[in-house]
């Protein structure tokens, strides 16, 4: 469940985060303002508040059930929604710092050959920015893996929820705690190593 949550939220937040980053550098002032406001607001709210709001606020009051009839499926989808909304802000910040590492000349050259803003961003700047932010993005991904535990707050049966029920019912608190802790080390360690290798491999050589 933890892995499923992580994977879905990672994809979602990558897309939404990229869109936000594009908004923050776009020529339309309103979009820039929206992007900045979104990032500043979301980054300063605890994830727990966001996830709880998704469940208690969105589902119960606004009737957003994400097309799910089952309560459990709904909780899962809302948790993904909350995680995406939260993580995207961090993806956006990482990408923006990545864009700053792309030399000015690249964007200037792109403009000089007549590319529009969308083309400059999509064909020239973003591909290079992505390659230079694989390291920071890996950190966001690892943080996301750990943040999925917050979904336990709305009853999604992921690792923290299971551990809570298990240590309340079984005697070997220490052992169960150690197993779950080890599980997370196993999850995050290869991600870190693989992304570290990838970022070295794909780094733009200048």
């Amino acid at each position: 469940m933890t892995v499923k949550l992580t994977a879905l939220s990672a994809v979602g937040s990558l897309v939404w985060g990229t869109l936000l980053a594009a908004m923050r550098v776009s020529p339309v002032p309103l979009m820039r303002g929206f992007g900045t406001a979104y990032v500043n607001i979301v980054r300063n709210i605890p994830l727990t508040v966001i996830i709880l709001f998704c469940s208690a606020g969105l589902a119960d009051v606004f009737g957003v059930t994400m097309g799910a009839e089952d309560f459990k499926v709904q909780g899962f989808r809302l948790a993904v929604l909350g995680l995406v909304a939260y993580t995207a802000a961090f993806v956006c910040e990482a990408l923006r710092s990545g864009m700053n590492t792309v030399p000015l000349g690249q964007a200037e050259a792109a403009r000089a050959i007549g590319l529009s803003f969308t083309q400059t961003l999509w064909l020239v700047v973003l591909p290079q920015a992505f390659r230079s932010v694989i390291g920071p993005l890996a950190n966001v991904l690892i943080a996301l893996t750990k943040n999925t535990t917050v979904a336990a707050a709305i009853g999604v049966a992921e690792a923290a929820y299971l551990m809570k029920t298990m240590i309340e019912n079984e005697a070997q608190t220490l052992l169960i705690g150690a197993v779950f802790a080890f599980g997370f080390v196993v999850l995050t360690l290869p991600t870190g190593l693989f992304m570290g290798w990838l970022s070295k491999r794909l780094a733009v050589k200048r």
């Binding site: 009051v61 964007a107 943080a143 336990a152 779950f180």
Partner: protein, 300 residues
Amino acid sequence: MSSVLYDTPGPRAKRRNVIFTVLFAVLILLLLWWVWLKMDEKDLFASAQWKPFTESQAWTTYLLPGLADTLKAASLAMVIALPLGAVFGISRLSDHRWVRGASGTVVEFFRAIPVLLLMLFANEFYARSTDISSEDRPLYAVVTGLVLYNAAVLAEIVKAGVLALPKGQTEAAYAIGLRKGQTMSSILLPQSVTAMLPAIVSQLVVIVKDTALGGVMIGFTELLNSRGTLAANYANPIPSFIVVAIMFIVLNFILTSFASWLERRLRRSKRSTGAVLGAEKVDDLNAAEVGGSFGSGADH
């Protein structure tokens, strides 16, 4: 305004920008309108929903004690985690391999585990092995979880702060005959503490946000938990969410602004060595970059 990504808009681009602005504004307005409709449908604009917040009772019984508990847990965690983090950070820089290895393992381990798991575990552990009263237990558990995790992160901050100092500082200290301990305590630490301040303040934001975990999962009566009680009493889930979210935003925004003000000030000051650990570093450190130094490479 122009940027390197696009030309200064000419007449056509200006028109296009206006069109996009209008489209985007319409989109946002549609969204707001939908929110408004739904809220109106549920009578969320009725004064009964918002009235509690204009009276002192809701604040004095629920929100302010909640805020106080949030701040109490956060500051306790920070105060305990700082010296622990400093010890681990310094021992990670030790010349002895086994000291370095042991503290490195501990730090990486606790950074890789979600805070929530640590809190849950601490809660259960205290319940079984100690006789802390069940009223105090949540606070103990929350603080323990936060301390374990943040000591590990602070250790990394301390390590990075010391490493960020120019190498000449250590060499000069050795040259005038100081021993390793003296070099650390009278030359390196005093300078790196100022360099680390912005990063430490940013970490405080993370701690404040993480206290909310304890409120939901182990019944610690902090701000988010008090919101639940308040909402149950006045039957106003959405307004209470909005008020609490705003309180968190204001609190953290003050901290973030303070951190970036410190950072700017330190960068300007002539007396420092110019080594400053910014807030950006903190985002990286919280992710537990297990097994390597990627992410803080050439792109920072």
